[in-house]
């Protein structure tokens, strides 16, 4: 953890599903979070496509690339004061993730490792300088098809004034507002069939991305989940958060003694594994009560 006083307590866990363990496959989910100076919270979750060989690497790469980009854009261009500005930050982050995956695919056969960090560092430098520019020269055919890194991606950013979320694919981002109500900011997206969703590697990934920006002083909590949990956490017909799922979890996350190991153990519990054999990721961020927040937060 950083030395700067943090305003949020954040816990995250990604656990391999029982189905994946049966087939000898590791966890294809990934998550990342950062708290930065200026009371800035960055959260990301990604779920690699179960049928793709390198999707775990894709998911790990996507979350880091997205947050690197968001951090860099906010640092260099400042905190947006309008929703449109936030949408631009989100889109840049999604593009950075896509770009990082492309680099991963292209360098794969050259024998370089596909650890997220090296390729992400290169990719994000280019993207944050010239967001929106296409590469000047035609890309060489990728060594490994991009599809093999297919992953969904969920990103949430929070400042004292704003909450901004973007999502490609399924899973959800849920916000608890100052009054305690839960709002699903981005909803599970799938086509006609439940097991088909959009990935960052799709051609139209940006058009199909969901965006949600809220001017939300006094936000109390954020939760990001991958699709392994969506049937348990949401009323899927109405796309609403199921309170008895989130409230105990947020109360837990608010406690100083709560650990990620406990969260992971819960995700791995029999009760959950009976209902889903998919990988499960849950990131919980609870805003800590600060004396200076007294004016903005109502209790």
């Amino acid at each position: 953890m950083s030395d700067t006083p943090s305003s949020w307590r954040v816990l995250g866990a990604s656990v391999a599903g029982s189905g994946h363990r049966k087939s000898g496959r590791g966890c294809d989910d990934a998550h990342a979070y950062r708290q930065l100076d200026g009371d800035l919270l960055l959260l990301a979750v990604a779920d690699g496509a179960g049928s793709m060989p390198h999707s775990a690497a894709g998911a790990a790469c996507a979350v880091e690339a997205a947050l690197d980009s968001a951090a860099a854009t906010l640092a260099s261009q400042g905190i947006p004061a309008e929703p449109a500005g936030w949408e631009a930050v989100l889109d840049a982050a999604l593009r950075a993730a896509r770009s990082a995956l492309e680099t991963l695919a292209e360098t794969a056969a050259a024998g370089e490792s596909d650890t997220a960090s090296e390729t992400v560092a290169d990719a994000t430098d280019e993207v944050t300088l010239e967001a929106g520019d296409e590469a000047a020269e035609p890309p060489e055919p990728p060594a490994v098809p991009l599809q093999q890194y297919a992953t969904t991606l969920l990103v949430a950013l929070a400042t004292p004034e704003f909450v901004a979320a973007a999502q490609i694919g399924d899973g959800a981002v849920v916000m608890q507002g100052s009054e305690g109500t839960l709002e699903v900011l981005t909803v599970p997206e799938h086509g006609e069939y439940l097991n088909e969703t959009t990935f960052v590697t799709a051609t139209d990934y940006l058009e199909r991305a969901q965006h949600a920006v809220r001017q939300q002083p006094g936000v109390r909590a954020l939760a990001l989940l991958s699709d392994g949990l969506q049937m348990l956490a949401l009323d899927l017909e109405r796309n609403e958060a199921f309170r008895p799922f989130f409230e105990p979890l947020l109360a837990f996350a608010a406690k100083p003694e709560a650990t990620e190991a406990e969260l992971a153990a819960f995700l791995d519990s029999d009760r959950i594994c009976e209902r889903t054999d998919d990988d499960k990721t849950l990131v919980l961020a609870v805003r800590e009560w600060q004396p200076s927040d007294a004016a903005t937060t109502s209790h």
Binding site: L194, N195, D235, F242, P248, L249, F252, D277
Partner: protein, 217 residues
Amino acid sequence: MNRLDESVEFAQNPDPRCPCVLLLDTSRSMTGEPIEALNEGLRAFQTDIQQDPLAQRRVEVAVVTFGGEVQVVQEFVTAGQFVAPTLTTGGNTPMGAAIIRALDLVRDRKAQYKANGVSYYRPWVFMITDGEPTDDWASAAQRVHDEESADGLAFFAVGVAGAEMQTLSQIAARQPAQLRGLEFAQMFLWLSQSQKRVSASKVGEQTALPPAGWATV
């Protein structure tokens, strides 16, 4: 004891469904060993699929037979409740009409899912035959191709010894498989395994029948 385990409650959403139509030839030529083997295969399917708690709730099975007439022996039922029928044989092979019936069953089931807010996986129609159609099958073939192009379902055809494979390849958009001998049980086990995989959350789909195992190359 993990207290989260005690305090967190789960939303009750309807189980997503994985509909599978078994479209089975019960014409005269299937009499004797073939139909016995097929019946045994159906029982093997039931046993295997009912061992999986998720598949039991999610896979839905319907059985349509064609032997003399077309009969819906089993309307869609959850795999956990499926009881393998004991089929008898007789008559000729109204395959065209049977295919249409099966496709209609799928179409109606999807409409029911949508009306009730139930999500679902791509439906399968799994046809087994040992002969060739004795009715007009052209419009059935057209519907299969239309449905496949629209990605409305996955249609698989398996020919038992004596089957007219040429005709089958015109009906099915995917390459038909030829059953090795009467290894229905093996084939049904494969089908059960595939349905279990499909009904688990996010797995790649079967796009073609495997040449190994119960099918001849």
